[in-house]
Symmetry: C2
Amino acid sequence: MDVAGIATPALLVDLDAMEFNLREMADFFAHKPCKLRPHFKNHKVPLLAWKQLRAGATGITCATLREAEILVHHGVENILIANEIAGDSKAQYLAELSRCASVVVAVDNCSSIKDLARAQRNGKSQIAVVVDIDIGLGRCGVRPGEEALQLAKCAAGEGLRVRGLMGYDGHLQVLPASLERDELVRRGSESLVRSAALIQAEGIPVSIVSTGGTGTYAVSGEYAGITDIQAGSYLLMDTLYVERGSCFRRSLTVLATIISMNRDGHAVVDCGVKEISGERGLSAVKNMPDVHLTALHAEHGLLELQGDLKSTLKIGDRIELWVRYSDATVSLHSSMYGVRHGQIETVFQIEH
Amino acid sequence: MDVAGIATPALLVDLDAMEFNLREMADFFAHKPCKLRPHFKNHKVPLLAWKQLRAGATGITCATLREAEILVHHGVENILIANEIAGDSKAQYLAELSRCASVVVAVDNCSSIKDLARAQRNGKSQIAVVVDIDIGLGRCGVRPGEEALQLAKCAAGEGLRVRGLMGYDGHLQVLPASLERDELVRRGSESLVRSAALIQAEGIPVSIVSTGGTGTYAVSGEYAGITDIQAGSYLLMDTLYVERGSCFRRSLTVLATIISMNRDGHAVVDCGVKEISGERGLSAVKNMPDVHLTALHAEHGLLELQGDLKSTLKIGDRIELWVRYSDATVSLHSSMYGVRHGQIETVFQIEH
């Protein structure tokens, strides 16, 4: 079907660009000891997770227990929940999932470890964890070194299977590439690798040392001792990363229709914050440098038209908005049209 | 079931507050010539639309053809799409819907009118429209007066049923109440009523003159000639409206769990922009003045704890975040738990 045939607003992915990104990242990791463990939170499409696995990924990373559940239901066998979960019910459900697949969850406190240990006993399944280390983001995670070691001991002491550790350098992902940035990335990797050595020295085997993302994989993916990289955005890409000089191509847009043209050279499209996230700024318009998105309301986007466009664009014409924040935009949709050369080749189901 | 039993993050509505808002707004319109035509875009829950109809609403307003479809499927018979639609396919689908219910759509240009007229001929059903007038928002709509009249004539000439007109004063909704603001609201209403008179004088009967919202209903709802008010937010309410002195009560929160506590007196909850909109600023925490949301990531919210809370709050504890932008937040969820005195009394399905 031609793209012209679908109703707007609609989420589109350019298949050529997406496949380029898939190959580019797979090539980077093809002959390295470090592997890619792509993040599911970005696209939430099981079929894309499987494309990533077939391209060489060592497993899939996700952000929530619900995402782990979706992955298990879609046959993914090697899952890292790169995030903490809290409370007995979630721990119990994790124990259930752990009977179906290898699911590893991040921990950063003894209280959750005790919940997981209790669920493990009740569920009669082995729960696996990685110690989450704060390497500068200032969100979750313990300090590297002694604090990480103590938490690993706490988890092992409670009978959980400690698989290693992780630390996410989210604060470095969208910094422009520079020697200073790369040095900060290396320091984060170094503190993870050192903490891993400390934990190993206490007789706890470490097989996972996970970090990195789309902005930093090229540095941390080369660092000796890092076993896998949690990059997610590389596949669909955000404008923000592209502005910082990423080698990946933007593939994600929201297709919108002009529903109103006003006398001052403004147009209105049928796409607002319910269809495209404005949380990281306003989108650019694909292939139309003279059209600027100036505001997003709930269901409307306001466009400023320059030059000849004021007279040539008309009601019913369609534009594509580049997605600045793919994570938050994909979450707003239940499907994503895969487009090649103007034709819809497939429709990806986004799972929630 | 106790609220403690549900998994987080979860969208909650306080039923006492919501029912207060329902009654308060219904009481305002109970003995007025002007009626309430509540906006569905805010809650997207057919059951709540029906509660609003039973409380006296004259029909339901919505923002998209998809919402009109949902309303028709749920038996609502009197629907206003207070927005433009563009293109043949949507016009044709509107013609189909118009065979099942009274659906009125806004128009602000002759091109869309011709699409609608063609669809009307093909669908063998009567399509009804209101002329959309820009009363200052600067989004969709024609100028009041002559331009509105010409468009009404164009629609009538094409054989569409012209029901009247509308104009949304979105730019005035969240201004603090003041005499100046009220005067601007009245001027908007005045230009609608005058345009209606012009159109009537040309022999086109006007039965709908629709405007207003949660911030302005009390002024435009009293203005002679305004037939109905499109308020939506009043039922669930946004923090932003409350800050501006609204009489309605906030009823909507997102329930979240503390999944991590760090050494600096920060806590992390399992709720980010995928669960609560940050597009209009960061939420306050319900009943906890010493806890402040300082950032929203995709799946995480960062809290700053003050005073004793640093030692008393712990992993697994739950907080509720007030919703600042209910439209965009409801859109992120598929269900909303109706809560009274800590118990879940019902679960509302949100339709997308």
